[in-house]
Amino acid sequence: MFKVLKKILKYPRLTQDYPNKPITKGMFIGKPKIDHEKCTLCEKCVKRCPSEAISKGSSDHTIHIDCYKCIFCTLCDEACPEGAITMTDNIELAEKKVTDLSNELLESELQAKIKKILGRSLAIREVDSGSCNGCDYEINALNNPFNDIERLGINFVASPRHADMLLVTGCATRNMESALLKTYEATPDPKLVVAVGACACSGGIFQDSYATQNGIDIILPVDVYIPGCPPPPQAILYGILSALSRIG
């Protein structure tokens, strides 16, 4: 007993105060950035990108990096002979999907409704629809002593029937499709869907296979996309909070 108490007292608080305190600079490898002035359009990065995230625009003839397809492998940084592509340390990349005005209106209504019903608490059900399990481990890490997501009023629940938000990882494999849909249907309205990781956003490295979909939004309506392969826990937390409009 004495030993247990001693150990508990030795490391009393491990929790990092994200998002109140920013992430240490240079800690993670984040979004790649292109310096268009240096770029000579040699397309070496386009050819070597393993997840086809880099493309040359047909109209404006510049190189684009699709953050949702990117697997953050840093190969473009290495491939570019001009040093035009560099990896930043920005991992706060989650974005809400707003396609047109009506959607935006609906969304603000939904947000108001969610706030009214839920206050500041949120119950999440996680669904792996065909990931490599990296994203799932990172979501799991939100519960560890370092991130302790419950301090923000957010907790993970065992059933979709108790959930306000579905956190979906993976590329919606053919074998998981119906289970994913059933989970979505079992979640009471109003509900939010957050796509976690490159696979869920776009199919990532597993896109265009006979057994996968290029992103879960082909099957479900998605509210927020969190890029990354896998996104670190802080990036997922950023995404969850931005879905609730509590950040950003």
Partner: protein, 527 residues
Amino acid sequence: MSLHKLNAKIEDRFPKYIYSSQALNDNELYLEADPEHIIELSMYFYEKLSCTLVCLFAADERALSGSFKLYYSFAERQSGSLIILSTSIDQNNSGFLSISKTVHTAARYEQEIHDLFGLIPIGHPELKRLVMHGNWPEGNFPLRRDFSLTHKPGASNLAYGFTEIKGTGVFEIPVGPVHAGIIEPGHFRFSVAGEPIFNLEAQLYYVHKGIEKLSEGKSTEKCFYIAERISGDETIANSLAYCQAIEKIAGINIPERAEYVRVLFAELERLTSHLGDLAGICIDVAYHFAGSQFNMLRGWAYEMATQLCGMRFLRSVNKLGGVRKEFVAGKEKSLLEQLNTMQRELEDTVDIIRHNSMFNDRIENTGVLDTKIAYDLNAVGPAARASGISNDMRKQFPYAAYPKLTFRVPVYAGGDVNSRMKVKIKEAFESISLMRQVIENMPGGKNFEPLEPLGPYKKAFGITESPRGENIHWVMTDETGNIFRYKIRTPSFCNWPALCYAVAGNIVPCFPLINKSFNLSYAGNDL
């Protein structure tokens, strides 16, 4: 026994059966025989030469030779060599003789070949669908070359026949694929009478993504990134196995420094994984103090990974021909300090849990995996080592800098959760010691050796010991030096049937605990 002697011995015994033999890549012996002799030959390898069937796979070589090819890969563990028995199945005759009645491990491989290639294992004891669920119409075989990667066949609703256990008071508990915890999807069908489990059948392949098909025709560099993503928490183990196969084909030796760095990252991955398992076992029996301590240690391991390469899951560390860049220089002192702290804290926590009799009562004799069954099913990794089988690929098929380092392979005979936990604890300490040795003895030099383009139709195995056990990859190149066939066999594929055996006779609430002690990857199994 050298490859040459082994070959002579086999040819001496079966002079008429083997019509071609070829030694490749130092330790791979490729033999060819007719389909009708496969049963006899594999029985000889399995029973007389004590070889284990470590992989069985097919390749669609109709465009090359007009036939499908089957590769039966046996490991001769004493000498660290592989015997690969291959046979051609004529394209007009899609059946082949099943060997699973004598070599039990073969059963799941044959089912897999049946689903993905449409070849029928004749005499298979339980031929039902494995990879393709009922939503997959008949007659679609994705790994045949004429099946387009992007083809998505129409809907279907075929029944999946679970094994039925009948009797008074016997009922079934279906669980999954979406589980209560944050884990991967899989369906478990428990047949129980009251609390005790009679039978557990796991329906897997929910996360089947078609990785083997996706890699076909890809450049070796692009395929590397797929290999890294086979199973999220085994990034190094899988990418390393792939790199080794390609490096063997290219015929290059990687720089010594890269060999050491690879060991450093592989052991960091093992340490992280084992600490997570230890935390999971404790949390599953509601021992939250210990769970949180192990999770703290695991968090530190992730921090170490971030400091080294900016990626918690060690992505983009390996590279064909070595490692990506300089990761370690200048960080040695801080790494050693962190390792010392981790070792000290781990020792303290282990000491506390070993003296908690309530906890020990819970894990002792729970989920026992018999040595005989572990051997028959070729159980691998910590699960096998907890059942008295001392297999470790780092010793038997040495790679990277392992032959230059000292480490022990812990073995326990109990076969229960307790033994698996003890193996993992010991291995965690061994990993810390290995990382320390690497940091202290790492030579200077280059980080990688550039690779020349690969020749056509070359093949090689890559073998590593992942945190979950032996990990076997096989690569064959096409005429342009891209990937023709990439076969991946992760440790989880071997251990899933072992888990189902270990669960029988236990009560349902023990399942999560037993499952955690095995810690299998669904993604690694389903591909």
